[in-house]
Amino acid sequence: MSGEGTLATVKRGLALSPELRTGLGGTIVLAVLQMAGRVAVPIAVQQGIDHGIRAPGGPDLGVVVRIVAITLGALMISTLCGYLMTRRLFTVSETALSGLRQRTFRHIHDLSMLHQQSERRGSMVSRVTSDVDQISQFLQTGGVQLLLATGQLLVSAVVMFVYSWQLALVVLLAFGPAVGVIRLFQKRLAEVYRAVRERTGVMLGAVAESVVGATVIRSYGVAGRTQARLDSSIEDLRVAQQRAMRTSVTSFSSGEIGAGLALAGVVVVGVWLGADGALTVGQLTAFLFLVTLFIQPVQIATDMLNEAQNAVAGWRRILDVLDVEPDVADPDDQGVELPVGPLSVRFADVSFRYPGGPIVLSGVDLTLDARRKYAVVGETGSGKTTFAKLLTRLMDPAQGEVLLSGTPLTSVRFASLRSRVVMVPQDGFLFDATVAENIRFAEPSLTGEQLRAAFVELGLVDWLDGLPQGLETEVGERGEALSVGERQLVALVRAYVADPDLLVLDEATSAVDPATEVRLQHALDLVTRGRTTVAIAHRLSTAQSADEVIVVDAGRVVQRGPHARLVAEEGSIYAKLYASWLEQTRS
């Protein structure tokens, strides 16, 4: 995709945002009318000189007044057309682009988890912010200018040919080399501007690192090293910016040389033609004015083409994201609803590998009964988290099938799946809002009383009342005003109010302070009651309290059964895990 040409990108972009073409015809007509007004002035000058100022009997004021009055009218119409055109352009382009922003935003959320995680967060954000801003800026500044410039170019060219085809040819010839140079520079400009964008990214990364890692940098006394890196990324950016500037000025100035050539050529050829009587003084004068009208758009166009490179690059980045088909897709209308009632789980010969990576799970074949509590245990890297992700369809297996109550997961509509199957991820991510709003995320219709009731039911009301503003307490960015354990509490309540039939808990690995831990365990117990629960357990206490334990090792299920029986199997992986864990907590 990246090798695609500018025009191809613009075509693809227009196809995806057809709104951009709304009323384009009218906008162009208005632009041409606005241009026509500008060309009226040189014509007025010609007419004024030939028929008024240099009238046979001395300057004829009446003629001049008439010409000026007519032109004034034309100017007023032109100004009005300009106003209408700009309004239309802004309304149409901003409406279309806000649609593009929203579509891209939704599309990014629809991408699979693996896709989302392979992108830097900042670059995803830029797809719906600065990349669109670039297109908008280009369409409105560059786009208007380019439209007007093209109009001006065409109209003035036509008028020039009407006055004198010979002189018009001279002007076109004079600009020939400039056009060649500008075309030649386009590729190079694209390169230098790409370098600027890349280095901006590197610089921002370095700054972010120095801010986020400030404490580490301080405590290791490595400010010097960090500053050196920052300075070089800042300096690299400056050098790239200056190089881009030099290139664009060189390209721009070729138009200027064209203008000089045109003026000189018009005078030389014009005088010869005029001496032969083929041209009037007014016509030649008008021509000199027309040349400047012709130069302006050429220069503006050169500048705009540079900006266009930026805008097109942004557009391309958005299109490339939109082109990615979500690989874990919602079957939507073709999908089915999950059967009513408690859910059972079946893994039918399931294998999984990350794209290009080694096999993480292989040949997993098991059935989990409805309403029972299961704990999946295993060492770090054994594949137990993958298990949870397949179960919630954050990923699809490479082989085999996952079924809920006999229905293949891939055929279940997301609306049904997400309301019946809820996962509590390791880091209970909270939004920068109040506790209440974070819980309403799962169920927007809940009233304050219902929210409070949920806390009461889970035995967490004393904790809630201990918060400065109760339900209305702000949790801060990513929930950072709360402790890790408290964030998990809120995430748990959020899962509880969603009232799922299958609950998947990816247990947090980090330690939580004892008081919160006790609350958390108690609440967990209540949340899981009566639901099919699969807990990815890092603490064996969770396994101990489960109805059944599933032991995963090196991507395979090696043991399953109640805790007491598995522990008794001497020399088994679970017995070993348990023994070492016991040693840790009871030393």
Partner: protein, 583 residues
């Protein structure tokens, strides 16, 4: 606003006087050439075109001279464009780079307490968009200065040509200028509003993508899109409002010079009839007005950017002027081997906040491991930060081997004491780079030893390029436990004499944690260790426990002693044990 904006510009000019002069001279030359060109055009019409059209004779020599003049002017104009654009551009880029260096330099020297008070996003935009905004008016500045020179020259030349035509200019130029000012004034609140909406849209997108997993698992994609849509719609409306104003002013500004040309034609015909001027003069002046319109806009660009510039500059200045740097002494820590850490009557509070620590005194004897135990909010992490001087106490003193921390040079302190924080921070670098941090004396062997001690050697060996594997932004390619072990290895690689672990193994399996702590105790390069602990196993490994309640040391002793004699301690530790074993 105008006054403050001009002061910011003045500061920029004083900082980069040479580039400004290059830009201003280029731009002035450009303006003067525009005027010259108009007069040449007028002169050519009056003295070359009219005579040869009348006589049907061409004065070839003169004609070539005219061509040469046009080409000469064109050449000079190219030079002036280079001067104007490169001068302005380079000035802007240099200022941006200079202030980015300055701002990030301040970030590195301001203390952690200052960082805690400022959101990451704010600091990022201080170094990026605020710096950009502050120097936004620099790009058109020389052009605007050149335009002013050009306008003055144009007025003079007009008065020299004919006072009546000069009056047209005297009306037109102030009108253009005034229209520009009105435009900027009315535009800037709209621009600011659009900018604010941009910020909101970006914040919502950032948060939403940050929580993408929760959005997905709760099936809230449609609702998130709606939430985003509300802000996007507001942004759209604010941008359309900008467009309407532009639609009103842009065509007006385009038409004004044309009105001037028409006025010149009218008045010129009248003056011509009375014989006051010639055809050449009318053509020159009319031509002048046609080409003037564009440069005059540069003044509007500068004025329009000023409010943004002042706002950006204020935010940049706030960082540059921030105070509270920690002053370091030049003391060193002679000797080798494990160091002793002593807290003596230490009190601490964050700013005006409540008292966090009350007269905390304890000692980590040389070579010993001391565990800090206490409920959430008892002040454990604050003690860890104080021990390596990330913050200074309100009163009381902290010393390593009898030397007070403020007397130590930063290098001496960083060399002797290492803190491993709760949340691991990994640089966008290779594994080796992350551990060595280019510190003298930390060679590959030290890196490997440290990795082994931190139980990280096995997973590092499994990475595609081993020590040379790039770990990505914030170490995204690693798991939480792996990141913790890397940061632990980073601390160990420097062979610290005092190691402070602030719950630094929380994301590591208990078995691995035990192996790490065991290796630490067994290794030759033993350090004194202060460890903030939750897990009972960690606590049990300590020689001594300091038990905290609400910022006070309420008991000190071995784990066994405290379990026997201190009810509060007993409750806490058993509560945790219960939590681990409940049901």
């Amino acid at each position: 606003m105008l006054g403050r904006g001009l002061r910011v510009l003045g500061h920029a000019i004083r900082t980069e006087p040479r580039l400004f002069i290059v830009g201003a001279i280029g731009s002035s030359l450009f303006g003067l050439l525009i005027i010259a060109n108009s007069y040449v055009v007028g002169w050519v019409i009056g003295h070359v075109v009219v005579p040869s059209f009348a006589s049907h004779q061409v004065d070839t020599g003169r004609l070539w001279l005219v061509a040469a003049i046009f080409l000469g002017i064109s050449g000079l104009r190219v030079a002036s464009i280079f001067g104007r654009r490169l001068g302005a551009g380079f000035m802007q880029f240099r200022l941006q780079a200079r202030y980015r260096r300055a701002v990030t330099g301040r970030y590195l020297s301001l203390p952690p307490a200052w960082h805690q008070r400022h959101a990451t996003g704010t600091l990022l935009s201080n170094a990026n968009s605020d710096v950009e905004a502050a120097w936004g008016p620099i790009a058109p500045l020389p052009f605007a200065v050149g335009t002013i020179v050009m306008l003055i020259a144009a007025m003079i030349s007009l008065f020299l040509t004919d006072w009546v035509l000069a009056l047209v200019g005297a009306t037109l130029f102030p009108a253009l200028f005034g229209l520009n000012l009105v435009y900027s004034r009315r535009m800037s609140p709209r621009q600011i509003r659009a900018q604010q909406m941009r910020g909101k849209v970006s914040a919502v997108a950032h948060e939403s993508f940050d929580g993408a997993l929760v959005v997905k698992t709760m099936g809230r994609e449609a609702d998130e899109s709606r939430r985003f849509g509300v802000f996007v719609d507001e942004l759209r409306d604010s941008l359309i409002a900008v467009g309407r104003l532009r639609g009103l002013f842009d065509p007006l500004m385009d038409s004004l010079p044309s009105l001037g040309t028409l006025a010149v034609l009218l008045l010129g015909a009248w003056r011509l009839r009375s014989g006051a001027i010639g055809v050449a003069d009318v053509v020159s002046v009319a031509f002048l007005f046609t080409v003037l319109a564009f440069p005059v806009r540069a003044i509007g660009w500068v004025v329009g950017e000023l409010p943004r510039s002042v706002a950006g500059w204020d935010r940049v200045r706030a960082v540059l002027d921030a105070e509270g740097d920690l002053a370091y002494g030049d003391g060193s820590l002679p000797g080798a081997g494990p160091a002793e850490l002593r807290f003596d009557q230490v009190r601490f509070s964050y700013g005006e906040g409540p008292q966090i620590l009350h007269d905390v005194s304890f000692t980590v004897p040389s070579g010993r491991t001391v565990a800090l135990v206490g409920a959430t909010g008892s002040g454990k992490s604050t003690i860890a930060s104080l021990a390596v001087r990330l913050v200074d106490p309100e009163s009381g003193s902290i010393g390593i081997d009898g030397v007070k921390l403020p007397d130590l040079a930063l290098s001496a302190l960083a060399g002797a004491a290492a803190l491993v924080p709760q949340v691991p921070f990994v640089f966008d670098d290779t594994v080796r780079g992350n551990i060595a941090l280019d510190r003298p004396g930390v060679d590959d062997e030290a890196v490997r030893d440290a990795l082994a001690l931190a139980q990280a050697d096995r997973f590092v060996a499994g990475l595609p390029d081993g020590l040379d594997t790039a770990v990505g932004e914030r170490g995204t390619s690693l798991s939480g436990g792996q990141r913790q072990r890397l940061t632990l290895a980073r601390a160990l690689a420097g062979k610290p004499r005092l190691l402070v672990l602030d719950d630094a193994t929380s994301a590591v399996d208990p078995r691995v944690e035990a192996a790490i702590l065991g290796a630490l105790r067994a290794s030759d390069a033993r350090a004194s260790v202060l460890v903030v602990a939750y897990r009972r196993a960690t606590i049990a490994l300590a020689d001594q426990v300091v038990y905290l309640e609400r910022g006070r040391v309420v008991a000190t002793g071995t784990h066994a002693e405290l379990m026997t004699f201190h009810a509060g301690y007993q409750d806490l530790v058993t509560a945790y044990e219960k939590a681990e074993h409940q049901e």
